[in-house]
Amino acid sequence: MNVPETPQTPAAPPPADERPAAVPAPQGWQLHGWFSRLWDAARLHTPAYAGLAGRQDAFFQGFLIVLLVSLLAGAPGFVGDVMAALQRPSADETAERSIALREMLGAAGPWMARLGLSTAAWTAAVDEVADAFDMGLQVSQEIDQLPTRLPRPVGRILEAFGGWLSAPFSVARLPLAVASLGVWLGYGVWVMLAARLLGGRGSLSGFFGATALYAVPHALDLLRWLPFIGGLIGVIAYIWGVIVYIKATQASHDLSFERALIAVLAPLALAVLIIAGLFSMLSGIVWLRS
């Protein structure tokens, strides 16, 4: 290897605030202990958060938690996609979709009349949209029957598998709405910054390790496919996850609950303010020009 072109900086100890929190790392986190700690965290037991934040491998633990919950929550969707992949939609199902669209658009007729659109104009618009939809369905069916180099079912299963594995890397429109690495890291960066500005003392690794616990309640997303109560379960998982996240921020940064709450909400509030500001500015420009 070449001689260095610049003198080397002597090895320095890590900065004090980068060291893990003073809480001793619990010994021997076997699998059953691991799950029981996750359960403790879901029940908001403070030692579970401090224990995770204090581990040397806190970030890796956090990664594992988010990854596993994300894959678990996506499992029913994956199974459903595989089942759908193995069955081609029948001609009857296609016709049903077309009829359903026409009925849905037709039902909007009275609303359109109230907006001043004549019945004839709306009927023409519905026909145009429905015809385009029918053509799309027809094209999709024909493409589905084209030959491929790999057998069709294999390709479809690969597609479902790929989609399932992609979910942990996705981001969400609403912060903390799903268990995914994109959400965990993307929102966490800003919360970490806010917590530090509010006097937090936690390490980067400890903070991300502890906040990954927000994913635990999202294991309930496994049941989101259930009719009627699926949506409600999703809302419960979201609120529960946010509470866990605030608790984790509090524990990993040694903050008061109020400060932790501000740190968690501040990035969202700032984003809303910026969007509202930009919107007002654009509206102002449009108004001035008109």
Partner: protein, 242 residues
Amino acid sequence: MGHRTLSLALVWRALFLDAAAYEDLRDDDNPFVEGLYLVVLLGVATALLNLIGQALHWASVPSLSAIEAVVLRNVQQQAWWPSIANDPAALQAFTERWDFSWRVIPALSDAPGPLRAALNIIVWPFTGMLSWLAYGVLAYLFGRLLGGRGSLNQTLGATALALTPWIFHALGVIPYVAIGGAVGFWQLILRYKAVRTAHVLPWGRAAAATALPYLVYLLLAALALLFSAPLTALLVALLAGR
């Protein structure tokens, strides 16, 4: 010839925020060379694995020409088609637009193509190097401006480790896997760790030195947009024969 600091274990430790990994590379006898090895290896290895995934994806979908034929046949069955077919000028305009669209669609839709994926074996290491060097130099300048003590060599070595989340692109060996925004945020976090370790800065200054290069990118993008708009207008005017 010095010893080789770079190893799979070091990459793993760096990926999961182990500060000692960044210190090890910072204190290497030539961190730049170690970083270069890492960036090139990551680029080539992930591109090779993606080639397999892209080939499987390509094999699981019909050929684009067959899809084009299906769409065209359906378009020609629409009620409005005779009005175009019976007007030579309209038919010629339609044919030109149609051909142009189907030349552009493969590039825009990220349609699977083993040839393009094979090209990535060269492209990815180069784009990786460009991203690494541009960020490394800027982070070094801002780090120094903010009171950091690290050399350029050390900054480049440490920031190369911040590219380790690219390893997830290796999942591209499975077709249809899309690695979303997580990698970018992960990289940002590791860049903070790298800058902080290379320059031994307090957290606030390290955060500023990490974020400021992104601000430079934004400014450059805004400038490019500003200058590209008149150029585009000129090009369009020239093409329109004005």
